[in-house]
């Protein structure tokens, strides 16, 4: 039995401990590893897609539909038609009376006219005008909102808040389109529509809630306090036109005073009316 005495391994003698035998071992190992890496490298073949587990369905690539003036104008029409449907539903249910009913009648005409104008611009741009509501917004927003309102403790209040929110959304949509559309005549049309729908929103607020809702407390440096599970809307809420999503609470309050929350956003990739989409 022999005992080799090893010098402690420190930085200063690291090279001295690699003798000729160790050098051969290290060299051989390096060559082997290099061969292994080379074998796995350049000529590697096979599926480069991410690994899949179990029997999941194959992922299909999303279609690449163009977003052009026609698509944007058809989308604008669809938003207008959706708002018309909101008002006409309220009219059919008879939830508005007196001056509010008169105002809603006027707003229906305004939105129908704007939709028609967007349709004319669509055709002038070489497309097919869109004459119905926005399917995505109807399915994801309007239908569940209507279902909630029908179970509400105060449907007229909810329809008013729904109308204010969608007028704001429509104004924001047209505001956004001003720099996306390519023709000046189109930009002017959506700028006018944006101005009109902002006016509509402020007018509904004032008609429904009076002078107490003229200016948001936020513009006065005060705290914005929402009560009774509702989100207060004001004739003037911001300094610049906001295109952010809006919160909307509808329906009856639960035991905690909480109502059903919804979020309303301007149309995006999933709710645009592409040219490939046809009306049923």
């Amino acid at each position: 039995m022999s005992f080799e005495q090893h010098t402690p391994l420190v930085l200063s003698n690291l090279d001295a401990r690699v003798g000729r035998r160790e050098a051969f071992k290290i060299g051989g190992l390096t060559v082997s590893l290099a061969a292994l890496v080379a074998a796995c490298g350049d000529d590697r073949t096979g599926d480069t897609a991410p690994g899949r587990v179990a029997n999941a369905p194959k992922v299909e690539a999303l279609p690449d539909y163009a977003v052009n003036d026609v698509v944007l104008l058809r989308t604008a029409s669809s938003v207008e038609n959706t708002i018309v449907l909101i008002y006409e539903t309220a009219q059919e249910l008879g939830v508005f009376e007196g001056e509010m009913a008169a105002l809603v009648g006027r707003l229906v005409e305004e939105h129908q006219a704007t939709s028609a104008q967007m349709g004319e611009l669509t055709e002038a741009a070489g497309g097919t005008a869109w004459t119905s509501t926005n399917p995505w917004i109807m399915e994801r927003s309007i239908e569940p909102m209507f279902a909630t309102i029908l179970e509400s403790d105060n449907p007229p209040r909810d329809f008013v808040n729904l109308a204010i929110t969608f007028e704001n959304m429509a104004a924001a949509t047209h505001q956004t389109l001003t720099s996306l559309l390519s023709k000046t005549v189109q930009r002017l049309a959506v700028a006018n529509a944006s101005a009109q729908e902002a006016r509509n929103s402020a007018t509904i607020v004032l008609e429904a809630y009076g002078n107490a809702r003229q200016i948001s407390p936020a513009l006065l440096g005060e705290e914005l306090i929402n009560a009774d599970g509702l989100i207060n809307r004001y004739a003037i809420e911001t300094t610049f036109g906001s295109v952010a999503q809006q919160d909307l609470n509808l329906g009856a309050a639960d035991v905690n005073g909480t109502r059903t929350p919804f979020v309303v956003s301007t149309p995006a990739a999933n709710s645009l009316i592409y040219e490939e989409l046809t009306e049923s």
Binding site: Q175, T178, S182, R199, I215, I236
Partner: protein
């Protein structure tokens, strides 16, 4: 300059009469309506800067007019005037920041024509004058928007238009015309011809 009438029809044209330059930008806008804005520049062009400077002067004039009103009014209407002054000052600052121009001064013609209407303690008189100014400002910005080339100028102007359009019915309501839907929802004001620096 001819401002939106203060009173509902039939006394519409009596507010400021035909004093000053009566200008409508509509004709020039119509001529532009076939132009394409494709591949628009991001930053304001030299032409945009000239137009934006006039828009800035209009906003500075509005700021000054509302400050004059706030000094005369009391209570809630004073608060309204002060908020309106802040709103228009913010628009002026935003335009100024975009074009890198500190202060060309307010549009003197607008201030001169409207200052007596704004320097009042009568809430209805103030509201009448103010809603006329707001409607005129909206029409003017829309007309200018049709002439802008750059994305920044269009976007900023669009965001101003949206809120000034809300100012108008709020002030119309304050003036006591809330039941007149034509006045609340409509805007028949002509755009000011400020494109040539007339003021």
């Amino acid at each position: 300059m001819d401002f939106e009438p203060a009173e509902p029809a039939p006394t519409r044209r009596s507010f400021l009469g035909a004093a000053g330059v009566v200008g409508v930008v509509g004709a020039s806008v119509a001529a532009l309506s076939g132009q394409s804005a494709a591949a628009a520049p991001d930053r304001p062009t030299d032409e945009d800067r000239a137009e934006l400077t006039e828009a800035l002067r209009l906003e500075l004039a509005a700021t000054e007019l509302y400050r004059l009103a706030a000094a005369e009014l009391a209570g809630d209407s004073q608060v309204v005037a002060a908020v309106m002054a802040n709103q228009h000052r913010a628009y002026a600052e935003a335009i100024s920041g975009m074009i890198g121009l500190s202060s060309p001064g307010p549009n003197a013609e607008v201030v001169e024509q409207l200052s007596s209407s704004f320097m009042t303690s009568d809430v209805q008189a103030f509201s009448n004058a103010a809603r006329s100014l707001e409607n005129t400002a909206v029409s003017t910005h829309i007309a200018l928007l049709g002439a802008y080339d750059s994305v920044q100028a269009i976007n900023l102007t669009a965001s101003i238009i949206t809120v000034e359009s809300r100012h108008a019915p709020m002030l119309t309501n304050l003036a006591g015309f809330s039941s007149n839907l034509d006045e609340m929802l409509g805007n028949t004001a002509d755009a000011l011809d400020i494109s040539g620096g007339a003021a």
